[in-house]
C-alpha cells in the first residue's frame, strides 16, 4: 500500500491549506453559492492505483453493480446514512424538497465490472429530517474527523441552507487513475 498517495496529500493539503487568514474560514454556513470544500476534487485519487485483486476489501469483493438501493452497491464503499435512491432521489439526485450540499466526503470504490477504482463524492441531501430508509454504514478507507473529507460521520451540509441531514448520494467524480 502506498502510505503517502496523492489522494491523501490532496486531502491533507486541502485541510491544512485553509490558512487562518483565508477568506474561506470566514464564510458562514448559510452561503450556498460558496462551497468551501471544492465541488469536485480536481486532483484525482491515486490510492487505489495499485490495488490488485488481492488488495480488495471485503466490501469490494462482495459488491454488485445492478441495484443502487442496496448497501452493497459498488459505489457505496464508504457511505454512511440513508441511501437517497430509497428516498425519492437517485444515485446523484436529491429527493424533492432537499438541497444537494456543495460539500462532500469522498471514497475510492472499485467497480466489479471493470475492476477499476473510481473516486466517489458522497454528497448529502440536506434540509429535512433523516429519510430513515436503506441505512448503510460502509467503511472502506473511512477516516476520522481530523481527515474530514474521508470521514462519514460529519454532517456534510456545509454550504447548504440547512444543516438537517436527509440522505446521501454517491456521485461519480471519475476514475482514480
Amino acid at each position: 500500500m502506498t502510505s503517502q498517495s496523492r489522494t491523501e496529500r490532496f486531502v491533507r493539503k486541502l485541510a491544512r491549506g485553509t490558512s487562518r487568514r483565508s477568506i474561506l474560514s470566514r464564510i458562514g454556513l448559510g452561503l450556498v453559492s460558496a462551497p468551501v470544500f471544492p465541488l469536485l476534487p480536481v486532483e484525482r485519487a491515486h490510492a487505489a492505483k495499485d490495488r490488485s485483486v488481492q488488495a480488495k476489501t471485503s466490501f469490494a469483493r462482495h459488491a454488485q453493480t445492478t441495484d443502487d438501493t442496496k448497501c452493497d452497491y459498488w459505489r457505496y464503499c464508504a457511505i454512511d446514512g440513508s441511501l437517497c435512491t430509497c428516498c425519492g432521489g437517485g444515485i446523484h439526485t436529491c429527493p424533492p424538497g432537499t438541497e444537494a450540499s456543495p460539500t462532500s466526503w469522498v471514497g475510492t470504490c472499485i467497480n466489479p465490472d471493470d475492476g477499476k477504482a473510481y473516486l466517489i463524492a458522497y454528497r448529502d441531501c440536506c434540509g429535512t429530517a433523516d429519510c430513515g430508509q436503506c441505512y448503510c454504514d460502509n467503511t472502506d478507507r473511512g477516516n476520522q474527523v481530523y481527515r474530514p473529507q474521508e470521514n462519514n460521520d460529519i454532517i456534510w451540509c456545509f454550504g447548504a441552507s440547512s444543516m438537517e441531514y436527509h440522505c446521501s448520494t454517491a456521485v461519480m467524480v471519475g476514475a482514480a487513475e
Binding site: L40, V53, Q54, K56, S58, F59, A60, R61, H62, A63, Q64, T65, T66, K70, C71, D72, C86, C87, G88, G89, G90, I91, H92, T93, C94, P95, P96, G97, T98, E99, A100, N111, P112, D113, D114, G115, K116, Y118, R123, C125, G127, T128, A129, D130, C131, G132, Q133, C136, D137, N138, E164, H166, T169, V171, M172, V173, G174, A175
Partner: protein
C-alpha cells in the same frame, strides 16, 4: 447485507477467479463525471399518501402502487399534514419551540409546494392542540380555500385560516367541544363532550355555531376522534368504541343531520356489542381505526376481539362495510395486527394498513390482496391524496 462478513482466517487464496467477474456479460460503461441535481415530483397520483408518526420528524410521501418513497416533508412532533384538494400544496400544521424543548412557542401552517416539496411560506397561528395521533384537529375546506385548526389552550376554539389571503380569522370558540372536520366550503363539525355536535358555518364572513341535540353517550360509548368525514359530500361517519356508526350530514346551511345509528356487529350477523364489562366482542380499535371510500360508500374498520375499553388495541381483521345497507361485506384476517387503516379516493382504491412497528401493507381494495409494502418509522398514520 453489509454485516455479513466472511470470517475465514486468511483469504489470500481469493486471488484467482474474482467473484465480481461472473454475473455481468456486458458491463455498463461507467460515466466519467456526474452533476448533482434535485428531483421534482410528477403531478400527484391518486395512490399517493403520507405516512407519519406523531413523534418522528418526517412525513413520508409514498406511492401506493409501488410502496416507494417519493420524498419527505419535515414535521415537528405532534403535527398534522394535509394535501390541498388540487394537490398543488402540502400543508403542515405544526408547533415549534425556538430552542427545541424551550424558548418561544411558534404555531404555524407551513405551506410546501406540491411538486418541489420546497417550503413556500408559513402562516403563523395563535395556537393549536398538542395531542398524539390526532387526524381531525386539522382539515381543509372542500374547495381548498380555508384550513381549520383545533386549539385547546385550554379554552376550545377552531382557528379558521384563509389560505388564499394567508390570514387567520378570529377564532371561533366552541366551549366543551373539540376537533375540526371540514364540511363543505364553509362548514366545520366539532364533537362535544355531552354527545352532541357543534357545527360552525362561516359563510358570509361571520362565523355562527349551531349545536345539535346530544345523540351519543360520550361517557359510556365515545366516538373516535379519528372518525371519518368527507368534506366534499359533507357526509361523515362517527364510529363508537362499541362499533355503533353515526352518519352525519353537514356543510350545506347550518346544523347537522344525524341518522339512526347502526351496529357493525349486527352487519356481520352477530349481536350488537355492548359496553358492559367481562364480555368479549369483536370491537373496533387502533389509532386510525376506520377509513371511508366516499365513491363506493364503504367503510373499512380494524376489528379485534376484546373487552370494552380496548379501543386502542390493534386490529386482527379488516371489515368492509356498506354504509347504505349497514352490511359487513367482507372480513379479511390480518397476518400482523394493524394500528391504522386508510383508503385511496379513486376508482381503483388501495388500502393502507400500518403495523405498530412501522411496516406498511398496501392492498388492492377490490381483492383485499397485498400489492406492495413500505417501511415507516413507528405506528404511523396515513393521509391520502384527495
Amino acid at each position: 447485507m453489509k454485516k455479513a462478513k466472511c470470517l475465514a482466517i486468511v483469504l489470500s487464496l481469493f486471488s484467482a477467479a474474482p467473484a465480481w467477474a461472473g454475473g455481468s456479460a456486458s458491463p455498463a460503461p461507467v460515466p466519467e463525471v456526474e452533476e448533482s441535481d434535485v428531483a421534482v415530483l410528477p403531478p400527484a397520483g391518486a395512490h399517493w399518501m403520507f405516512a407519519y408518526f406523531s413523534f418522528r420528524n418526517l412525513a413520508q410521501l409514498i406511492d401506493g402502487d409501488t410502496g416507494k418513497q417519493l420524498g419527505g416533508v419535515h414535521i415537528a412532533q405532534l403535527s398534522n399534514i394535509a394535501f390541498s384538494p388540487d394537490k398543488k400544496h402540502i400543508y403542515v400544521a405544526e408547533t415549534i419551540w425556538s430552542k427545541g424543548n424551550r424558548g418561544t412557542r411558534q404555531d404555524m401552517i407551513t405551506v410546501y409546494d406540491g411538486r418541489t416539496l420546497k417550503l413556500d411560506h408559513e402562516i403563523p397561528l395563535p395556537g393549536r392542540l398538542l395531542a398524539g395521533d390526532r387526524l381531525n384537529t386539522f382539515s381543509i375546506s372542500a374547495d381548498g380555500r380555508y384550513a381549520y385548526v383545533y386549539d385547546m389552550a385550554p379554552a376550545s376554539s377552531v382557528i379558521v385560516v384563509d389560505l388564499e389571503k394567508r390570514k387567520v380569522l378570529p377564532p371561533v370558540e366552541i366551549p366543551g367541544c373539540a376537533l375540526a372536520f371540514a364540511a363543505g366550503n364553509t362548514g366545520v363539525v366539532s364533537v362535544c363532550g355531552d354527545g352532541s355536535l357543534a357545527v360552525i358555518s362561516h359563510a358570509g364572513g361571520k362565523a355562527e355555531v349551531t349545536q345539535t341535540a346530544p345523540f351519543f353517550d360520550a361517557g359510556e360509548d365515545p366516538v373516535y376522534d379519528n372518525s371519518v368525514f368527507d368534506a366534499k359530500s359533507g357526509k361523515g361517519y362517527l364510529l363508537s368504541y362499541s362499533g355503533r356508526v353515526y352518519e352525519v350530514t353537514a356543510g350545506s346551511g347550518s346544523g347537522a343531520q344525524i341518522a339512526q345509528p347502526w351496529s357493525l356487529q349486527e352487519g356481520a350477523h352477530m349481536p350488537r356489542a355492548e359496553t358492559k364489562p367481562l364480555v368479549v366482542n369483536w370491537l373496533p380499535g387502533g389509532q386510525q381505526p376506520v377509513a371511508y371510500d366516499a365513491a363506493t360508500g364503504r367503510l373499512y374498520v380494524l376489528m379485534h376481539k376484546g373487552e370494552f375499553w380496548s379501543y386502542k388495541e390493534a386490529g386482527e381483521e379488516l371489515w368492509e362495510v356498506d354504509v347504505a345497507t349497514h352490511k359487513v361485506l367482507r372480513r379479511a384476517a390480518l397476518d400482523k395486527p394493524a394500528m391504522s387503516v386508510a383508503v385511496s379516493q379513486d376508482k381503483e382504491p388501495l388500502l393502507f394498513l400500518a403495523e405498530p412497528g412501522g411496516a406498511i401493507h398496501i392492498w388492492d381494495a377490490a381483492t383485499l390482496s397485498e400489492k406492495a409494502s413500505a417501511a415507516s418509522m413507528g405506528p404511523s398514520h396515513f393521509v391520502v391524496a384527495p
